[in-house]
Symmetry: C2
Subunit: 417 residues, 2 copies
Amino acid sequence: MLRLDTRFLPDFPEALKAHAPLLEEARRSLLAKRKNPGSMLGFLDLPEDTETLREIRRYREANPWVEDFVLIGIGGSALGPKALEAAFNESGVRFHYVDHVEPEPVIKLLRALDPGKTLVNVVSKSGTTAETLAGFLVFLDWLKGALGEAWRRHLVVTTDPETGPLRALAAREGLRAFAIPKEVGGRFSVLSPVGLLPLAFAGADLEALLMGARKANETALAPVEESLPLKTALLLHLHRHLPVHAFMVYSERLKHLPEWFVQLHDESLGKRDKEGNRVGTTALPALGPQDQHAQVQLFREGPLDKLLAMVVPESPLEDLRIPPAEGLEAASYLFGKTLFGLLRAEAEATYQALAEAGQRVYALYLSQVSPYAVGWLLQHLMWQTAFLGELWGVNAFDQPGVELGKRLTRAFLEAWK
Amino acid sequence: MLRLDTRFLPDFPEALKAHAPLLEEARRSLLAKRKNPGSMLGFLDLPEDTETLREIRRYREANPWVEDFVLIGIGGSALGPKALEAAFNESGVRFHYVDHVEPEPVIKLLRALDPGKTLVNVVSKSGTTAETLAGFLVFLDWLKGALGEAWRRHLVVTTDPETGPLRALAAREGLRAFAIPKEVGGRFSVLSPVGLLPLAFAGADLEALLMGARKANETALAPVEESLPLKTALLLHLHRHLPVHAFMVYSERLKHLPEWFVQLHDESLGKRDKEGNRVGTTALPALGPQDQHAQVQLFREGPLDKLLAMVVPESPLEDLRIPPAEGLEAASYLFGKTLFGLLRAEAEATYQALAEAGQRVYALYLSQVSPYAVGWLLQHLMWQTAFLGELWGVNAFDQPGVELGKRLTRAFLEAWK
C-alpha cells in the first residue's frame, strides 16, 4: 500500500481543488494519445501481460543450473532490475551488472565466473547501444571460447520484438529472446522482460509486483482528489521553480531505487518545451538514515531551493531487537527497542526537522518493502512522470539531448584509431 | 597525477589573476588557525603519520584469519572506506557495511557470516552515533553468543583517542582500538584509521595512497597559479550562484566516490554564514558512462543551473580489446577498439557536448585509477572544501543542522515505547 502525506504543506488541499481542471485536462490529453503508434504509453499495459510472465517463468524453470546472472545493459536496461533485485533476491543467484565499460572490473569478473554456471542477458531496446554492444562482444567471445557450441544456451537476449542487430542475431543463431514491446521505452521498461527476466532468476514474487502496479493504474484513473499520481504530479508542478527535487528513501534494500528515479525524472522531463525554453528539475538521490549524516545538514541550513519527497516504510517484514550491553550505558535509550523502531523514529524526526527548517517536504508511506508495495510505487512514479510531461509541455518519452554525445563518441573512436 | 582542465571556461585564467589576492587571503586565514585547538585541521597532517600506518600494518599481519570484514559506521565513518575499498580490494576479503539500521539486511548478513572468520570494526568518533551503537549492540551480542570469551579478538574499535563510550568500553574490556585524532572530523577522516584499517585488510597500497595525499598538500601550498585546490575552490566560488554542483566520475571502480564527495561538500558548506544567510550548493553525484543514459539529457537541455566537474582517468591499469563477431556488423566500429578507448571517447564526447550546450564544465584528469592518484584526489577535494569554508564565511568543520533530528529521534523512540 502507498499513502501520500502532506501534513507540512497545509496549502496543498486548497491547491488541489484549484488545479483539478488542469489535472483532468492533463490526464485526458495523455490518455487520448494511448492508441497512437509512437506514443510510448505501453508501460500502462505491462502489469496486465500475464502471457509474458508465464513465458518467463517457464524459461526460468527450464534453467535451474544458473548460479551467476550477468546483465549487460545500461540506463533503463539496468537501473530497474538492479533496484528490484537488491531488494528482493530470494534465490541466492549472484547478479553482476555490466552497465559500464571500465576494463578492470570486466576482467576481474571474467576471471571469477564459471562459464558453465553463468547466464548472460544482453539488454538493449534498439540493439545499438555502444556500451552494451562492447560488453556483449567481450562476453560472447568468452562464452564461445569456453563452451564451444553450447554457448547459445548461456545467452538470452532482451530487445525490440522485430528490429535491430540483437533481434537479427537471435534469429540467425536461434537464441532465446524476449521482447521489449514497441510502445515501451527504456526508462519505462522495468515491468517488461527487462526487469521480469532477471527478477525471475532472483526468485522475486513477480505476481505481487504486477498486482501492485495494477493498483497504481487504478489510482491513476481515479477521481482527481483520490488519484495519487495526479496529486504527486501536482506537488512537483507547484514547486517547479525550485531547481532540486530530492528523493530520499528510508530503506537499505531499496538503496538503488533513487538512481532509477533519477533517470526516470531527469531524462523524461529535462528538455526544451515547444517554445524552446529549458524546463525540468534536477532529481537528487538520497537515502535514510545515511544521508542524515551527509546531506541533511545542507537540507536544514542551506538554500531553500528544494522539494523533498521521503519514501518511508511503515512496517518491517522481520525485525530485530537491540540487546543491552554492560558498559555501554550511553546507549541505554536503545536497549530493548528494535532496529525498525529506530529507522522509523529517524524518518519521522527528519521529516519534521526538514519541515521546521522551511523546506517543502512530503512523504510517501509504503506499507512495507514488499514486491506489491514497491510495484505500486514504481508504476506510480511512471504515471507521475507521464502526467508531468503533459503539465510541462514536453515529450516525456524521447531523449533528443543525448544524440550529440553519441556522434562525438564515434568520431573520437575513429580519429584515435 | 591530477590535472585540471578548463578549456571550456576561457574566462578562467583572467579570473584567477583577478582573484589571486582573495585566494591568498583565504589560504592565509585557514592556515593561521592550524595550531588552534578545535580548528579541526588535523586532516592536513594525516598523510605524514607513518607511525599509525605501521601499527595498522602490524595489526593486519597479526590477523590473517579474517575472511569477512564488517564495518559498522555511518556518514564519514563509512563513505571513505567504502569508496576506496570498492576501487582497491586486492585481498579478496569480503566487506560488509552496516551503515544503516534496516533489520532485514542485518538479519540476512548475520545468517550468512561465519563468526570465527569475521572481524567487526565499529567506527564512531564520538562513540555516541545512534545507528552505529544500535548495529554494534546487535553484533556484540552475536559475537559473544557465538564465540564466548574469544569475542574480543573479533572486534576492533576506531574512535576518539580518549573520550566517549566506545573508548571506555575498549579500555574496560581490553579491546584493540585505533584513534581518530582529536583534530580530525568524520568527513575528513578517510586517511586516518577510519579508512586505513579496512583498506589494510583489503590489501590496498596504503603507502601510495598517502604519498598521493602528500602531493596534494604540496600543491595546496604552491603559488596561487599552481595551486590546484585554490584553483578548483575558485571555480566553485565563481559559480556559487548556480544551485547544483554535479560531480561526475568516469570509473566503475570509483562508483562510490561521488557519495563521499557529496557528504564532504554538502555537510561542510551547506550552512548559515555569520549574517545568518543560507549558503552552499547542492552536490549531485553522477557516474560515466552510466549517467549519459540518465542525467545527461537534463544536463544538455534542462536549465543552465549547474557547475559540472568531470573526473576522468587518462590510462587504464589493464585493458581489454573488443573482439569482432559475425552477424554483429552494426557494431563493427567497435571491433578492435578497447574498452578503455571507448570509455575515454565517451568522457571526451560528453565533456564537449555539455560545454556545447552552454553548461559550465571543467575536468579533473587522473593519470589512472591508482591509490596514488586517488589519494591525491581525495586530499585535493578536502583542501578545496576547507578553502571554500573561508571564501563563503562558514565553519567547514561543524554540522549544527543535524542536532534537531537527533533530539527528535530520541523523543520519538521514548514516546513510542
